[in-house]
């Protein structure tokens, strides 16, 4: 199931899509599945399932803490497929966001096969650019999976053109020069980046990094096809600690606020 289904639906509703992220295995595997199901029920159009990794150079303290908790809790790469399967069963597309080494270690072709087998839509690869490695595009194409690469405010127009040409599903535009984490104001760099990206592709363009409120989502939804939220969801669960039910309720409230935001944009 490609993410394009969800983007087409949002477009037909004349609104941006809401993409929600949580790491698999956080607070534990079943807990992450319950949280993701709550996010789907409250209005996420696409789910990003993070794959916890020991050296997450693109992540700020919030997602680092969640990934570390997942790894200390015994998370295994195969658990990501069970998580994806649960999300896909709701009818909402699930993409996996992962640093490259766990995929390479698992076997690129085998990872693509197992992800497709679990009903996954594709991969977002924060430390893999289309010119890094030729194995992923061929494996993804063989299994009909989305390839979501990142563009950044520092990307040249030439690199944006090269990157979007390699993408399938959507393009991930990083709104700030920095790592993941909630920020109080939206970035001034995002809108011009989206404009440069849209000039190079007809694919949907999602904006991530730093979005945490419905008002920020509305601002971004005015010019982007999707609003991507990660750290704010993770922070909500972290703040509730062992109070799982309270965490899920807070997650629902946050998702509803963001889903309302993408409809106001």
């Amino acid at each position: 199931m490609s993410t394009s289904v969800a983007f087409e639906k949002a477009r037909s509703d004349d609104r941006a899509a809401l993409v929600g992220y949580l790491p698999a295995g956080f607070p534990d595997v079943d807990g992450s599945i319950a949280a993701l199901e709550a996010m789907v029920a409250a209005g996420c159009d696409v789910i990003e399932v993070g794959l916890p990794y020991s050296d997450p150079v693109m992540d700020g303290p919030t997602i680092q803490a969640a990934a570390q908790q997942a790894l200390e809790g015994g998370f295994r790469v195969r658990d990501v497929f069970r998580t994806v399967e649960a999300v896909a069963a709701t009818g909402t597309p699930a993409v996996v966001m992962t640093y490259w080494n766990p995929v390479e270690r698992y076997g690129v072709e085998r990872f693509a096969r197992d992800l497709a087998g679990a009903g996954g839509a594709g991969l977002i690869t924060p430390d893999l650019t289309p010119d890094s490695d030729p194995h992923w595009p061929s494996a993804a194409d063989a299994h009909d999976l989305d390839k979501v690469y990142l563009v950044a405010p520092s990307s040249t127009d030439e690199r944006i053109a090269m990157t979007v040409a390699a993408c399938r599903g959507f393009v991930y535009a990083t709104a700030v020069m920095g790592v993941t984490g909630a920020r109080t104001t939206t970035s001034e760099l995002a809108e011009p980046l989206v404009a440069r990206t849209k000039a190079a592709t007809g694919l949907p363009v999602g904006v991530g990094l730093g979005v945490s409120t419905g008002d920020q989502a509305a601002e971004i939804a005015a010019y982007a096809d999707a609003v991507i939220v990660g750290s704010a969801f993770v922070r909500t669960l972290l703040d509730h600690g062992d109070d799982r039910a309270g965490g899920l309720r807070a997650l629902t409230v946050l998702t509803e606020d963001l889903a309302d935001g993408v409809r106001r944009g």
């Binding site: 990794y53 150079v57 890094s132 490695d133 520092s154 790592v179």
Partner: protein
């Protein structure tokens, strides 16, 4: 006879070798660039600036002058007669990088990168450090070139190496303890990269070893290859021929690649890298990445990595903080795979024995890192016999390691009893 103190033997003019990376930074199957897109423009900019700089005679003249007048290179090649007699094998020559300013080969790399930073018009540098040697060298270069400097250091290491934290602060650098992950060198690199993503427009990342994404492995090699270029010439002058073997310790591998490069296309010269074997490779407590790791991607390059079956990085162990790293420079991975260089593990205990032996026979206290090269090369010297010559890179001095040595050898206890 050439006078090496005035010869214009630029460390940057060395010839290409058969083991260099291609345009994209690939050494055969290893290297490349696995990085966030946000940093690609900066890495491209750095690649262009580095290539232009090394082709610019004015830059090279300034680089050479600073290395000579400030860092104190060329370092001497010392004919270690007492050590040779004691080991009872090949003639042993020591490349005295321990006598450079700040006490190790690291100064060569940071002066090159800091000079390039000035040329690129950036005002701030960041660095990671394990034991603190690269951090101290970076803080030194930052003071010299009037750059702001922030050094990321694992919180565990800031406690193990408190004196080096003090040195960095005295030199004007800000030291940031990193608490995430295992709170050691690999996490300091992660944190420096996170800083760099957010600061790349005005900040240069002074990478401390010949690892990481392209162009760092090749650029750091270029800035450190003076070690081997000098040693090759010095050995020819002293002995009339090339050494039969060259040896260096390998953590990330900057001092080793700095030495090896000059000899890569001399097939008669055997090349040995000695990896930190910790408590012994069989115990699992080691950092012998080439010997016991598997191909993977860490810190922006494909190389050998200590990792579990899920590709999560495994914590390394070595008595030497400067070698305690679960990855290795990609050119070393390539040299190992092609068989051009041989990499062997050396344990903590073997290294400490070699450290004490050099102290007693030659009156030189080496860094524990360099003691790994000594211990491994002693075996090579015995294998090759008295007609051969073995050239060892004494990459750093041991002052920073005195606390470890004091505990290991129970030094000072008899004196304490007498008092």
């Amino acid at each position: 006879m050439t006078d090496l103190t005035t010869a214009p033997a630029s460390a940057l003019t060395g010839a290409p070798t058969s083991y260099d990376a291609d345009e994209q930074g690939w050494f055969g199957d290893f290297g490349g660039r696995f990085m966030p897109e946000a940093l690609v423009a900066a890495l491209d900019e750095l690649t262009v600036a580095w290539r232009e700089a090394v082709a610019d005679p004015a830059f090279m003249a300034e680089f050479d002058a600073i290395q000579r007048d400030y860092a104190g290179t060329p370092s001497r090649l010392y004919d270690a007669e007492r050590l040779t007699r004691r080991i009872g094998g090949a003639r042993i020559l020591l490349k005295r990088e321990d006598l450079n300013h700040t006490g190790a080969h690291k100064i060569r790399n940071v002066l090159g990168q800091a000079l390039l930073t000035k040329r690129m018009g950036k005002s701030r540098v960041i660095a990671e450090t394990g034991a603190g040697q690269h951090g101290v060298a970076s803080a030194t270069a930052a003071a010299y070139f009037e750059l702001d400097c922030t050094v990321y250091m694992g919180a565990v290491d800031t406690r193990r190496q408190a004196l080096n934290v003090a040195r960095m602060e005295l030199l004007g650098a800000k030291v940031v303890p990193v608490e995430s992950g295992s709170a050691t060198l690999k996490d300091a690199i992660n944190e420096a990269m996170r800083d760099w993503v957010a600061s790349v427009d005005h900040t240069a990342y002074l990478f401390g070893t010949a690892a990481g994404p392209h162009p760092f492995p090749s650029m750091v090699r270029d800035f450190t290859r003076g070690i081997g270029d000098e040693a090759r010439e010095q050995c020819l002058e002293l002995t009339g021929r090339l050494p039969d073997a060259v040896a260096a310790c390998v953590g990330g591998g900057s001092n080793a690649i700095g030495l090896f490069t000059a000899f890569l296309d001399d097939p008669e010269v055997r090349i040995y890298g000695f990896e930190p074997g910790g408590d012994g490779v069989e115990t699992g407590r080691h950092a012998a990445t080439i010997h016991a790791g598997d191909s993977g991607v860490l810190h922006g390059a494909r190389t050998f990595v200590l990792q579990d079956e899920d590709g999560q990085t495994v914590e390394s162990h070595s008595i030497s903080a400067g070698l305690d790293y679960p990855g290795v420079g990609p050119q070393h991975a390539h040299l190992a795979k092609t068989g051009r260089a041989e990499y062997r593990p050396v344990t903590d205990a073997q290294s400490m024995d070699a450290l004490a032996l050099l102290a007693r026979t030659e009156g030189i206290i080496p860094a524990i890192e360099s003691a790994h090269a000594l211990a491994g090369a002693f075996d090579v010297a015995r294998e090759l016999g008295p007609d051969a010559t073995v050239l060892i890179n004494l990459s750093g001095r041991g002052d920073k390691d005195m606390e470890t040595a004091r505990e290991w050898f129970a030094l000072g206890e008899k004196t304490q009893e007498q008092v």
